[in-house]
Symmetry: C2
Subunit: 248 residues, 2 copies
């Protein structure tokens, strides 16, 4: 449509098609988000990230820390900053594509949680109609309450949703079973065919699949007043270059 | 489509239909954005706002300042903060609707400016597919260079675009003529029918109309390191309750 504008749905496809992640073996290529925090905030950053993983609001506890001067995909970490690589949930879309499951990324937004149950999207930006990642912009809007969700099971977190063809239901469930092992968890809801998933409509013959945003720990960090800048879907890396935060 | 989600295109219509603004007489109801700055930043805030008006990157120099404790539409300005009311460009959509010009808000985004000429949108979020205002989220993304545009005529500013029916071209031009008087200026480009406007495609029989975002002064303020939070399309007020920044 518009000559120069690259919408996020296409950026997701670009990355998804390069994912070779095998969730059973814990090998292959995954998509990462890159965040920058000040060096003096590193310790608190890791502690917040760990807490979000333990509370189940981060989809993966894999992390990699880069220090000032280190380079990754042509980007050099600036002086006085640390780079934090964490898993981007586009990795899940890559996995679906890899298995031949027809799926369309729908969008990212804010999900209301009540008594630890994800209830519905209260905000949504659709991938096909934005050139900037929804969760990247929403993380700075002070509309989450990740700490409340972690402490009391009530509040708002970031999440995303895609739809999968209903005839591929068995394959989807196979993928989800493999994911419970811990490299990438964070599936919030698999909707019924032809039925809204967490309040978001799906196309005929499709079912919604909602997952935790990889950005919830940054929202939690901001809620604590710590400054963090991030780029969603910054690049691809081999999962072996990352480690579980519990092993740090 | 989705039961609980209210997309911005509908929020725009809600407000636009209540606009009674008469740009020749400078009377009637307009849509405002509300920003909050710390009291100690008020002086610099006004000076930045004034500079953006003089440089032509703010669509209107009308402003109203609210102090801690003052209430507007049920919102009370918190302690240690000032509220800044400025014109929202939804006022323009209201004006088009008032005149019976068929128009559809398309979206908000980032516009590249070269030698003082707006060239093209480099980012866009479409109103119909987001529940949160595009410019409200983009203002915090560090992707503008409003000061560079003001100083050197090159950089990136925030803007929005709607499409108007080509058969209403005369009416659109009449509105634009009336707007040159100064209550609300900031039209960036009126495209040709059936032709992309600043790189954004329009529907058949429509022409694009791009305008400056009312949020450029906030982007400029953030570029100076001053913290500002804002709510786009916060409400409606009588234009007589605002004054030109030059008269402050």
């Amino acid at each position: 449509m518009s000559e120069f504008l690259r919408f996020v749905s296409h950026q997701i496809e670009d990355f998804a098609m390069q994912v070779t992640f095998n969730p059973v073996e814990g090998t292959g290529t995954v998509v990462y988000n890159l965040s920058l925090v000040r060096v003096e905030d590193l310790e608190q950053t890791i502690s917040v990230f760990r807490a979000t993983c333990e509370a189940g609001v981060s989809p993966s506890s894999l992390i990699r820390i880069l220090y000032a001067g280190e380079e990754l995909d042509g980007f050099v970490i600036p002086q006085n900053f640390c780079g934090i690589l964490t898993l981007c949930s586009t990795t899940l879309d890559g996995l679906l594509l890899q298995r031949g499951i027809p799926s369309n990324p729908i969008g990212g937004g804010v999900i209301e949680v009540a008594e630890n149950i994800p209830k519905r999207f209260t905000h949504l930006i659709k991938y096909e109609y934005t050139t900037i990642d929804p969760l990247q912009v929403l993380v700075s809007q002070e509309i989450t309450s990740v700490h409340q969700v972690m402490k009391h099971g009530n509040g708002s977190i970031l999440g995303n949703i895609r739809e999968c063809h209903m005839e591929a239901e068995d394959d989807v469930e196979e993928v989800l079973d493999e994911l419970t092992e811990g490299y990438f968890t964070g599936i919030l809801d698999l909707g019924l065919p032809n039925t809204p998933c967490l309040g978001v409509a799906v196309d005929p013959q499709y079912m919604g699949l909602a997952a935790l945003g990889g950005t919830n720990w940054m929202a939690a960090l901001r809620e604590e007043g710590i400054s963090v800048t991030m780029q969603a879907m910054k690049g691809l890396c081999d999962i072996s270059t990352m480690e579980f935060v519990s092993q740090l």
